[in-house]
């Protein structure tokens, strides 16, 4: 299948470019690590609060951090695409017979690979802090992280391609990021929230993904949360790729 071949070609080139500047992939880990070290310990006394989910504070907090990494690590990749558009690289590729989906997916695959690498590193460091989790659960979380990465990087590329301006993209992302973060239960579980806030958070697909990730890390494979989280993440990935491909297909002006 030639689209798959083309996507791999773009992926390899993108990975080489990322590899040439590894500092960015490492810097992206600093924020979650700061949360881990400076915010994580605050949750410890809360574990006995009514409404706090079962498990140690780390097994509640780290899955949230992983989802946060997935969201904020890939949400901003559109900026890179705007730079590539400015260089003329995107147009140069669009004038080849390569599949438009491949031009998008090659980039998304790079983002997903970088993200999963970061997530593995974050889990390893969290283990030092005291996280204990079943391997199967961690694997499930990584799959969810991967799907979220695919989704958000596709959406971000679509937005970048459409807006063609860093300023406009920054405005859009900032206006989305804060409500999505606050209503996801990433920092503090939404089970602590008053009823109206809890219900509001249910409208945010990321809150279901966070719940699923927590259930997986605590090894609660019997609950439906993991399946719900997985299905929501998968739906987001499919929607992202569909929107991204459509945008890559459309003419640029």
């Amino acid at each position: 299948m030639s689209a798959w071949r083309e996507a791999r070609l773009v992926f390899r080139q993108q990975l080489r470019l990322s590899w040439r500047q590894p500092v960015w992939a490492v810097l992206a880990l600093i924020q979650p690590l700061l949360y881990l070290a400076l915010f994580g310990p605050l949750l410890r006394p809360l574990t006995h609060t009514p409404g706090f989910p079962p498990g140690s504070s780390w097994s509640v907090f780290v899955p949230g951090l992983l989802i946060q990494l997935a969201m904020f690590g890939t949400m901003f990749v559109g900026f890179g695409l705007i730079a590539e558009m400015r260089y003329g690289v995107v147009e140069r590729m669009r004038v080849t017979p390569a599949s438009r989906m491949a031009l998008l997916m090659g980039r998304v695959m790079r983002d997903a690979v970088v993200l999963v690498g970061q997530a593995v590193l974050l889990i390893a460091i969290a283990t030092v802090f005291g996280l204990r989790a079943p391997l199967l659960g961690l694997a499930a979380v990584l799959v969810i992280v991967l799907l979220l990465g695919i989704s958000l990087s596709s959406f971000s590329y679509a937005a970048g391609l459409k807006l063609r301006s860093e300023d406009a993209l920054a405005q859009l992302l900032n206006s989305l990021a804060v409500p999505l973060l606050l209503l996801s239960g990433i920092l503090l579980p939404m089970s602590l929230a008053p009823r109206w806030l809890y219900l509001l958070s249910r409208l945010n697909p990321f809150s279901h993904v966070v719940d699923g990730a927590r259930a997986a890390v605590r090894g609660d494979f019997g609950s439906g949360s993991i399946a719900v989280g997985f299905i929501v993440a998968l739906a987001l990935a499919v929607a992202g790729v569909a929107v991204g491909t459509r945008t890559f297909h459309r003419e640029s002006n």
């Binding site: 040439r20 003329g88 140069r92 590729m93 003419e251």
Partner: protein, 331 residues
């Protein structure tokens, strides 16, 4: 390539593009008709904003036309855009490379995106590098290249898959005169050695004059004239024959004015300047007439109008963004 020899490489029929903006519709290209034959080097000459780039972007599938149709390299633009993409190369105006990538990487990737295998892509990349004097720059990061090298790399990227037709959008803009002359040599080589059809845009008159077999002059989205550089120059202004006759200038004017083929004769500073249809043929009879009238001629000069004169005459305005137009060039 795919186009048969008797079929034009590019044929545009009423091809147009209207952009919708907040202030209303802007007609960037107003339905142009033209054809480019195989192995022709054709220049699209016009000021910035005339519609040159928009036309090229439509023909290279980057921008959908809002009216009309076109056949490019034997494929219908609307029905078979992928077929068009396979057969053409396109070199955009503003560059096409990631400054952090290596020359080699970009060239090989580009060739592979055209479906070539890794080995073949590698071979083509080396070949085009040698052709465009990029030979030993393969492993260099693109941001370390000079402007001229980077521009040649852009051209190499548009040619690495060996297309039969290449679009060059303002190939030499921003280059110093030496790099520009060097690039011109390479562009001539494309047609002469590889048989490539070249369609370039430029707002440099000298560039169109130096490179093109044929020129399409475009202004405000319309083609206002078409022809070889010589035809255009001749068609518009005719040639100027200048006789240096010292104090006899006024009498010389009297002798020459009204003779067959003479449009105008103006005495000016010890000379008489005569506008004729064709300078080479018109000069000698005029010379004899002056001789017969007993007017000694110290020297004679034939000057041909530049394309700038042509442009001015056709559109009523000079090419913008141009250094002061050169004067009439003696030939």
């Amino acid at each position: 390539m795919a186009a048969q020899t008797n079929q034009p490489m590019v044929e545009a029929r009423g091809l147009g593009r209207t952009f919708r903006t907040r202030t209303g519709a802007v007609e960037a290209v107003a339905g142009v008709d033209f054809a480019i034959q195989a192995r022709e080097v054709v220049g699209f000459l016009g000021p910035n904003g005339a519609g040159k780039t928009t036309t090229q972007r439509m023909l290279s599938t980057l921008l959908a036309p809002t009216s009309g149709e076109a056949t490019v390299a034997g494929c219908d633009l609307r029905r078979d855009p992928v077929g068009v993409r396979r057969r053409i190369g396109y070199v955009a105006q503003g560059g096409s490379t990631n400054p952090n990538a290596l020359c080699d990487e970009e060239l090989v990737l580009q060739a592979q995106l055209y479906g070539l295998g890794a080995e073949e892509a590698r071979r083509r990349a080396d070949e085009i590098c040698a052709r465009l004097d990029l030979g030993d720059l393969g492993a260099r990061q693109i941001k370390t290249l000079s402007g001229g090298q980077r521009r040649r790399l852009d051209v190499a990227l548009g040619l690495v898959h060996g297309p039969g037709l290449v679009f060059l959008d303002e190939p030499s803009t921003g280059l110093d005169p030496q790099s520009r002359a060097n690039l011109w040599t390479h562009i001539r080589g494309l047609r002469d050695e590889l048989g490539t059809t070249v369609f370039l845009t430029t707002h440099y008159l000298e560039e169109a004059d130096a490179l093109c077999d044929r020129i399409l002059i475009i202004d405000h989205g319309r083609i206002v004239a078409e022809g070889t550089p010589d035809q255009l120059k001749r068609r518009i202004s005719g040639d100027l024959v200048i006789f240096t006759v010292g104090p006899e200038a006024e009498r010389a004017r009297g002798v020459l004015a009204g003779r067959p083929g003479v449009r105008e004769a103006v005495p000016h500073d010890g000379t008489v300047r005569v506008t004729v249809e064709r300078g080479e043929e018109g000069a000698l009879p005029l010379m004899r007439a002056l001789d017969a009238a007993g007017i000694p001629v110290a020297s004679m000069q034939i000057a041909r109008p530049t394309l700038d004169d042509v442009f001015l005459t056709l559109t009523g305005h000079s090419l913008r963004d141009q250094p002061a137009a050169e004067g009439r060039r003696p030939s």
